[in-house]
Subunit: 133 residues, 2 copies
DNA sequence: CAGTATCCTTATGGATACTG
DNA sequence: CAGTATCCATAAGGATACTG
């Protein structure tokens, strides 16, 4: 189901929300923009990589993986990925709370793009190194 | 050659510049981030699509293609793509000035990723339509 | 543990005017 | 035509304190 809830909170990713709105209103130029709006975000592709390749992670696991990410950023990136149906959020009725994030089927289907980004980026960085030698 | 010129101008894409700096200092977690930093930008993938599929375009051609883009945005997106070696900027000694933008070889090599983004996005949008029926 | 809420600084991006 | 430069409104994102 298209999640029409528009987050008017302070942390709204404005561009992403705009494209979500345009999607619902069938007013978008191009499907590429939708994909980009899902992947754009300082930490999203690395989060997806870890969830896709290594399996489910808890909130605190991800914090340990990315020591430089702020609490607020990690929260918002995960919420947006969940809203877009890429990531599943499982809350266990434990005390203290336990929340696990994992890839959905839709999420796994976007992983090849992330992998291509990795391959292309690696090659390009190698190329740049050669040229500066 | 890695372009080390750091644009301290007002329109600097901060995240992109940060990753460029980290790249030069060999301080990056992952090559995926570099690729994403190149493609991230409200209009970049659509610009790349048109240049890659339809061939070279003049500045004013692109303005006609995207009536909603501001002059300043188009300028900055093209400058960033040029800095990253994705797009070539050819200035003709004409009066009035003529400037033509085209894909570099490196740019063409990133096009498959843009195409995958298009394919994935189209399928996902179709899927979402089905689910809301 | 896994979040929200608030405050505040920095970055983004539109509108407009000017230039070779 | 193809840009720069400046001003200004809005959005993103860090730090900190609080909560179930």
């Amino acid at each position: 189901m298209i999640n029409i809830i528009k987050d008017d909170g302070e942390m709204a990713d404005h561009l992403r929300q705009e494209i979500r709105t345009r999607l619902i209103e069938k007013d978008y130029h191009c499907a590429k923009e939708y994909t980009l709006s899902i992947l754009s975000g300082k930490w999203k592709v690395v989060i997806l990589w870890h969830l896709g390749v290594e399996g489910p992670h808890r909130f605190s696991d991800l914090q340990k993986l990315f020591p430089k990410i702020s609490h607020k950023m990690l929260t918002s990136q995960l919420r947006e990925l969940t809203e877009d149906g890429i990531v599943h959020r499982e809350v266990y009725p434990d005390v203290p709370p336990k929340v696990e994030y994992s890839m959905t089927t839709v999420g796994m289907s976007i992983l090849p793009i992330v992998e291509m980004m990795y391959t292309w980026g690696s090659k390009r960085i190698e190329q740049l190194k050669q040229e500066t030698q």
